[in-house]
């Protein structure tokens, strides 16, 4: 069956300003008296494509007083399945994986979140999934109560949240097709295609040409994402490499010379 998830219990980041390595990863904001957008938000993708895009500069300034920027190292567990949470967060960088585990240790990854995704389960005090930093991750954390009151002031924020949730639902259903009906070869191709489209920095080439990127997941995690074993992932990767559909540099770095050709392997 599936590999046991080795979860580095490390909940400290939620409570305190340091992670257990002792690094200071929080930086509580100073008041920023500008008429415009808070400095801390100026570079943030969440302000454009994320839920903060719904806010006026003024509202943004008020929100930013309750946020803190946190860093979570790769492998760190952010929220445990069925754990109480009192915070939400925006993903500012890196990749967060959401997973579910069975009592005997079988594990399934049920979602990946990239910047500027919102992280959390509104209207429910406990999470249904485990959230873990798949890579090093930067988060903008804020208390549940803050979002709740912002939503009342700015209903368009709830709208953004609805939009993202619908998008996640679309993605989840797409993956259900992959999990239920695709072959191992199609699954691996689908995964690589998804990452290529999602991550490639030159994302003009979204649907054409080539892409190069680092896989945010290990082979074991890819296996848990696709509902297959690590060995099968490895064999399918080798097959794709031998047919020239992908080029591997080391074990993490992947080049896709022809994204369309890869897409043709996904079965869809």
């Amino acid at each position: 069956m599936a590999a046991y998830g080795q979860i580095l219990a490390a909940r400290a980041w939620m409570a305190a300003g340091t992670d257990e390595s002792g690094k200071i990863v929080s930086d509580q904001r100073e008041d920023i008296h500008t008429t415009g957008v808070p400095v801390v938000c100026q570079q943030c993708e969440a302000r454009h494509k994320g839920i903060c895009g719904a806010l006026t500069p003024d509202e943004l300034t008020r929100l930013s007083k309750h946020t803190s920027k946190r860093h979570a190292a790769h492998g760190m567990e952010l929220v445990g399945e069925s754990e109480e949470t009192e915070s939400y967060a925006n993903v500012m960088g890196g990749v967060v994986k959401l997973s579910k585990m069975m009592p005997d240790g079988r594990q399934q990854i049920v979602g990946l979140q990239f910047a500027p995704d919102f992280l959390g389960r509104p209207f429910q005090s406990t999470s249904n999934v485990t959230a873990e930093a798949a890579t090093d991750v930067h988060l903008c954390v804020f208390p549940k109560s803050t979002l709740d009151s912002m939503m009342k002031e700015a209903p368009s924020m709830e709208n953004r949240l609805l939009q993202q949730t619908l998008k996640e639902l679309d993605d989840a259903r797409e993956w259900m097709l992959t999990l239920g009906r695709k072959t191992a070869a199609e699954k691996v191709a689908s995964f690589l295609f998804m990452i290529a489209v999602q991550i490639d920095p030159t994302h003009d080439a979204e649907r054409e040409g080539s892409a190069t990127f680092d896989l945010p997941l290990t082979r074991g995690e890819i296996a848990d994402f696709l509902g297959i074993t690590i060995e099968t992932v490895s064999r399918q990767m080798t097959k794709l490499r031998k047919t020239g559909l992908i080029v591997l540099e080391g074990t993490r770095r992947v080049s896709v010379p022809d994204i369309q050709a890869l897409r043709d392997e996904t079965g869809v």
Copy 2:
């Protein structure tokens, strides 16, 4: 691979007041001048647990002027994958199945909707899934534009929509675990357990005691839901019957003498 979906193309119900058998299935509302809730809404579950619960009697009255009640026979396709839609609906009775199909005909059911679920994809003109009446279905249909304007007046309606969407996302992720990591035996048990909890009329017994119900899906549909074949479904049902975990009357009617015992077979 999966069975080909036999879809009875029948889009007439969306456009006109009759289905293709000629029965009149629409009943455009009369104005109802009451100070209270419109007659047509009084029995409707959507008014309590569905999205209409967000509305005042007054708003409800206005909405009800734009709705029409429709009946769709078992097997009828309501919305095609990637089809343009200009309407939403509430499920008032029966079961709607949402599915996705691959070019070669492999099919995966990605969701089931029961009363009083909302049916449709806000903020997007085309659907990502096929919606089909799994049983005979009663719907309350209204134009997209109506919902859009109601949402502006009553932001709590958007809130309800968000709540349902989050619930669907939870369900989808739960099902991803089932599809990716459970054995065929666990899949079938999980399906029966889900239906037992969802459908059983005496749903006090949600977590205890016994339940009896009619399966809303054929063996083939169950297979498409679980990502296995019809033969495997059949074999697992027989196994459950022989071990006494379920009792079958005919092929559709199922009794579960001990729901907890069934739950223990789901692997979770």
